[in-house]
Symmetry: C2
Subunit: 197 residues, 2 copies
């Protein structure tokens, strides 16, 4: 005895998505089955459309409907400072902080920890982008994890060869954070990077 084939089929597809286990996949499939028909069609269409319409910007890698993207078309930015990020969503977060330089989005390969994956990182695209610009500084705004470390080292070689200064985001206590609940590595970095009051 099994569930009906189209239901099993949807469960199988959902279970392949990251962080969706078999139980969640089953719950989602039953939920989708009961959605109003129009809502289910919209979800299906959104999946197909995201693939058809969204591409990385040919210059900076930001995911965009229009190439070049809105950021590359914005002439009101500091062209001497470049911020390298892993994902387009990080651009949104950094824009909110007030930064108005240029970006380069790596669209991080998901395979980085599974295999080597570094060959998927497009070093050539970064080199081309740097050559076409007038950058004085590159901020590495990569996540503070192993993947981020690996990518940062790989990219640093490319940037240094151009004689451009490299910086990275400061480590330390998150604003509003609690010392008691901060891990020891972060605390050590916060002490190393202490500032005079």
């Amino acid at each position: 005895m099994r569930l009906a084939r189209p239901l099993e089929n949807l469960i199988d597809h959902l279970a392949k998505l990251p962080s969706i286990g078999p139980k969640t996949a089953q719950r989602l499939a039953l939920y989708i089955l009961r959605l109003p028909a129009e809502e289910a069609r919209q979800l299906a269409r959104a999946i197909v459309e995201v693939q058809q319409k969204i591409k990385p910007c040919s210059q900076c890698g930001f995911l965009t409907e229009f190439d070049p993207c809105v950021i590359c078309q914005d002439h009101d930015r500091d062209n001497q400072i470049l911020c390298i990020v892993e994902e387009s969503s990080n651009v949104i977060a950094i824009e909110k902080s007030g930064f108005r330089g240029r970006y380069f989005v790596l669209n991080k390969p998901s395979s980085l920890l599974e295999g080597s994956g570094l060959e998927e990182l497009d070093g050539q695209a970064l080199e081309t982008y740097l050559s076409g610009g007038e950058f004085k500084e590159v901020i590495m705004a990569l996540n503070p994890d192993i993947d981020g470390e690996i990518m940062a080292r790989y990219l640093a070689a490319i940037i240094q060869a151009k004689g451009i200064k490299i910086t990275r985001l400061a480590h330390g206590l998150p604003v509003g954070g609690d010392i008691e609940f901060t891990d020891e590595i972060t605390l050590r970095r916060a002490i190393e990077g202490r500032r005079e009051l």
Copy 2:
């Protein structure tokens, strides 16, 4: 600054699904964006197909491609005992335990705790199903939670009116479970339902 519209659109749709928060929705959307085109199309198609092809069995409510379902068409079952369950997936679980009676699937309304929702429970369908059968006993195999309690009381009235015996699944320690980690209500039920060795 926002992400590209088709990407935001997919994130919005995914975030409406149960147990998918905005962060997970974003991660899923980026993952879907990078799927091979054929896999993304298959996922979209599976969503549309599950709605077009799957319906509750007109007799017992089991989700099925063909009406009546395989269980209703199976003549090699005990027709005197009926098991009422909330979801079709519960039928699969109970079949594995070796039970070979009939089933009635409620396809539990998701709204039960939010509003009243009981009017969505098809009492009339159960009554029709009971009238067409020769049942001597109905096992309430509903989940041991508030929803299950509410539904059980509502349905019990319908079944009792037909003079059919009602039973429910036993409560107690799960096989392989540990007394130390069993909650007090389950333990109390296990003591109440103790059996002679």
